[in-house]
């Protein structure tokens, strides 16, 4: 959360449009893959020099260039000049703390949003920034690190499954967006299972790690919420763009993606409600437990105080205490003590403290 401010504060004072990669620096070089297809044919190719992509720009076919790794600023800049992208767009691509947004630059549309990767070892969700530029016949995607999220789309292109090869660059962009949104449900499912598990375990449990656990989940939800909230504007903005770049037939699919976004947001909101409900339940558990402890203490005190006092009485050393000389004095006092104890127990039973 706070790291966003941290990273952005590095660029304070630089002229806008200066290309600085603010993400974590990784060692691999950027990996570029290219798909070029139309209904009838497709070509898949790994690119080692960015210049290899350039001839595809002016071809009739749809070209999808995917770049894994943003630290190679040089590559980004070459694409910039060749595809005529505004420097601010490229600054936004490199700024991995960018808020999700969509911008229509006339000749091309720029989309940036977050993908979430779940690391099962650390039980942690980490955001990764995905940027997309699409023009009339090309889509360029930028990922922070290598991932396999787009594989279903790659398969669909290879096998000509679905509509992806029949429709334009806008549909490809939609399909990629939809894949990312679909992935959110996987993250939400994991989170939801965790919340349900916690709810079952929490009932009546006063383990003192709960506030920490609930707080952690809350932070995770705040993180997700922060990156997913602007998504509605992104998908909504995609729908509203009036441009030749967007085919009418794609609109109906965008409406569907929009619905999914709303559903993601609804789910996050109900998670928030449930988590704050869990905190209330935990606090109640603590109070209930405290009540029980106090009752226990009080019962012990209330029973033994009078008994100990009675024993103290007959432990006094007065010369003239007739009871001490009675033959049945000792048994008599024991009976009295038993009676007091019984009355106390009956009283507590009636008060429902026992």
């Amino acid at each position: 959360m706070t790291s966003a401010a941290k990273k952005l504060s590095q660029t304070a004072g630089l002229p806008p449009g200066t290309l600085v990669y603010v993400g974590d620096h990784k060692k691999q070089t950027a990996r570029i893959t290219l798909f070029d297809f139309d209904v009838n044919q497709y070509k898949e190719q790994e690119i080692f020099s960015v210049e290899e992509c350039f001839p595809f720009k002016d071809s009739e076919t749809i070209t999808w260039i995917n770049i894994d790794g943003l630290h190679d600023v040089d590559v980004i800049e070459k694409i910039d000049s060749r595809f005529g992208i505004h420097p601010l767009v490229l600054e936004d691509i490199l700024n991995t703390e960018q808020r999700p947004k969509i911008e229509d630059y006339g000749d091309y549309v720029f989309i940036t949003l977050k993908m979430f990767n779940y690391n099962p070892e650390l039980d942690e969700v980490t955001p990764e920034q995905i940027s997309m530029i699409f023009g009339s016949n090309y889509v360029i995607t930028f990922q922070e690190s290598q991932g396999d999220s787009f594989n279903p789309i790659r398969d669909r292109i290879r096998n000509n499954k679905g509509r992806v090869r029949r429709m334009g660059a806008d549909y490809l962009a939609y399909a990629l967006l939809d894949t990312i949104i679909d992935d959110y449900f996987v993250i939400l499912e994991r989170l939801g299972e965790k919340i349900e598990l916690f709810e079952d375990q929490l009932m009546g449990d006063t383990d003192n790690t709960w506030p920490h656990k609930i707080h952690q989940l809350k932070r995770e939800v705040i993180l997700l919420r922060r990156y997913i909230w602007p998504l509605r504007e992104v998908v909504g903005g995609f729908q509203r763009i009036e441009s030749n770049l967007i085919n009418k037939a794609t609109g109906i699919f965008l409406r569907d993606a929009y619905d999914h976004t709303i559903q993601v947001m609804d789910t996050i909101e109900s998670y928030r409600d449930m988590l704050s409900g869990m905190h209330d339940v935990y606090l109640s558990s603590l109070s209930i437990r405290m009540n029980e402890v106090m009752k226990f203490l009080t019962i012990f005190t209330a029973i033994f105080s009078p008994l100990t006092f009675l024993a103290g009485i007959y432990g006094m050393n007065f010369q003239h205490m007739p009871e001490l000389h009675w033959v049945w004095g000792y048994p008599f006092i024991l009976v009295i003590m038993a009676t007091i104890t019984s009355l106390m127990l009956i009283y507590f039973k009636q008060k429902k403290w026992l």
Copy 2:
């Protein structure tokens, strides 16, 4: 709640428009019933092969096809191609975690929303998805499982009661929608009675199952709220559709359905307010109880501490303790003890602790 994310995550990566039924799989085959009517006549028919419906498509009369059971994807697909429905609509029908929505596709309107079934044995409310497609002279409804919610409409058609046979497919769609919304009041009534019962029982009760019970009710309200909230947009959208499919006379009925939706939402909101008020009352009860327990403990301690101390004093073995040799020493000390006790009791009376 979380199951929605769970089910949707199954379809992540599939091309949009792929027909996958994400609901629970049941064993019965889909059951199809057909009504065909105009003002003068009606025909009711159980359909065993989906092809039997097709001739009705082009008839002048209003045709209502109801399909119970969504798992028979084959049936859905046949209807798709014959009635010219967009694949995304059919995907939405099968996706039983769909958010309620209305979509105008020009030739037909698609509505999906939730119905709630109360299971009295488990004391549980389960949502069921209802989808509806209506065109100029037909209505197709899809239910997850067999139910009798639409029976009142069936009776009205059979007996030519109300306006349903005099008006068009849009009115039939409205009537079905209205029936579902009316059913919400039954669920809300049950919920409201439970809340009132709980409120009466809760006063002064510190039973430790309350946080759980209140939390359960809250979850139920969150569930209802989540599915009913979008309904306003659905009914509002229905009203705003500008199309030949919607007769002007139906508009006035839709306004009425809209009012009912708002009323359902208002009721849910006041239930939320009341439930969070109940939690506050419960927490207060706990604190009050704690105060009482503490007072009890303190009174016992405050009375017996000085008495036991006094008894301890005269239990000391000093050789030179003149009081021990007084003839009236023992009665004297008992009187002192009684006096201390009385003063304490008076003090607590004044403090209103007793």
Copy 3:
């Protein structure tokens, strides 16, 4: 609150426009009174057969028909057919759980809202539904039970006071609406006095009936809020109607009624704020009281534990305890005990526990 859902669930499944009275059934027959007036003259008449009203429909003068008691569905239906009212309107009139609303049907305008009756014996506020239909020269009002709320208007008509006889049916409708809104202030005044009284009594009081009392007031405010909130739309809608039915001169009065509605809502909102503030104050009182009880307990324990221990020491039976044989042993130990007690008291004084 919950009774609304209860009553509405009775009509689930009936065709819209079916006339069913969902309110409580009372024994008296409906009472119909009629006023017919223009600037120069007025006629007041009790009606025993609904047909007597019909001739007034087409007269030039303004006719006000008031019906007390909704259970006589037959009367309502006759008025329906004669005045050409849409069946849904009449369904809404009978449905006493209707949300306040205004609807423009072209020839007439339909308004329904709540009036509140305070029952001083039960110290309870009960809502009553008032419906109004007004056309170019008539106003029909429907009340659940007989009441005297409209008497001020009746007096104004009888005595030709104010503008009511000089202006049209729309002004009469406004005047009736304004009378109802004015009555809200009476209810709010009572509520406000109760809140102020409670605030004064609450300070430092930890009586355990407070949570219940505050919760009751909160429920009352939720009830009022629920019925009054939609009123803004009603009066706002009245202002916005563009129709020949509404005279321009009436508009300026409606603006005034709108201001009053906003003021009612503001007052209710500040009551809510004050009530939730009261709950906080009560919880603080409980905590303060608990702190005091605990301090008291601790002081007692802290003073008597060392004393009792010391007495216990010299109650031991060791043969070789030189102090026991000192002549001044007993006074000496008493002085030590007094010193310990004094030091403790000084310590607690310094800690401000005393």
Copy 4:
């Protein structure tokens, strides 16, 4: 707060436009002062009979009539008929519980809002209603009681300072409005100082008057908020009036007054936030204090319970207790007791309870 409802409930049932003064009745007669000025000259005059004002109505110069005291309904009515003011306006002037508002009546504009007077003796803020009517060449102001808030404006007119004599009646109305808003900052300053003082004093203090003090401040803020909130609409409405009454040059000043209003509202909102934060801090203080008390109690109990028990053991009267006959038995047991005490103290030190 509640008194608003109380006063308004007095007028329930009266025809709209009936002139009833609902404020507190004071004994002095209304005091009327008049300013008549243009750029070159000004005249200041105390008026004893309302008719003296009338000639100024049609003069070219700007006339400002200020009326202190609303109880003299007769005066108000005469002005009514002479200046052609709508009866509802005059009703609003007399109704001192009126919500702040602005209304454009074509020939004149009516503004009503609240001024706040601080009474340092009672340490209380009381609202006073100010109403203003301005036409093309006159401004009439109505105050509940005599005050000196408008003196700065009077001085400016007398000394021809600022723009007030160069511009029209609209600018004078703005200047009066601005003076009132400026006065809010004085009230807010006092409130802010009180809050800061309280914040400094509150830290760690568990005095049981805090909930009351904080609640009082909260009520004061609720009161201010309630009367200042509608002000935004008033100033905003003033800006939006499209009328010959408003000079373009005044618009830029109104924008400034609008900014000030927003700033007043922002300040009130942050006060609310700070006050609810203070309540949290106080509750934490109570809990911290409770923890300390409990620790203290527990330490005492934990140290003296074992010691008293040990002393009890050797106070038993068994014949065969060899330790009792040891020569070093008594010193030995004292050493054991000292050891137990030391160990306990070390344990509590480690637990950081000491």
Copy 5:
């Protein structure tokens, strides 16, 4: 916070447009620096007499006048008359408690907003007001005190880096605005680190300085929020200005600045959420700690009460207590005591109190 109201209350009663500096008075005289540049050349100059600036007003080149120190009202007034600035603008510049805003005066645009300076010694953030006026070929900036925030822009002008010398006065204004917004991230980073540090330290810690620390952070966030919230309107307003002053090419950069503003606001909102979460965690810690203390106390009481009672029994002085004469009486009673203690410990183990 409250100081804003304090300072503004000083000007209550003065005519609008009166120039009064409400900030803290400092001793240095205002320092004026001037940049004059176009693509080909630039001139940097320190100004000692304000008249030196005037010739630049009508030059073709872009002129940037920066004034450090607002207390020299004379300087401000001279600039006023020469550049034809409205008196209200200059009043706003001097009023250092001004809410951030943008105003279009036709010939020039006025912007005022806050910069934040972090004082590491006091660990405090103090706001400083920055005002900006820009016309077709000049920008005038006003700072409360000397600072180096604009140095990056100065360097860019000197070294002709970025676009600043190629574009107009509007771009320079944007660049200055962007520099200020970038600085916010530095402040947010510091705040975020503090919050994360606190979160790590807080877990399980019940130190009683936490409420104070959290409250301080909350106040800081409220302060930031109050000054940054209006920024959205400022940058949004900048974007929407339709004027020859704004070049189309600048619009795309403003969109970027707008995104940054939203991101700053999002960050502040999540800080608020996290801080209120921290308060909850702290309260839970207190309750958990209380529970532990209580358990400890209860265990001690429950173990030693019966033991002490038993010892008391055999400390009684009855003549006829056979156990006292048994040879094995003493060891026997010790065994019984050990057994009771063991059973208690087992019981507490089972209850998980140990």
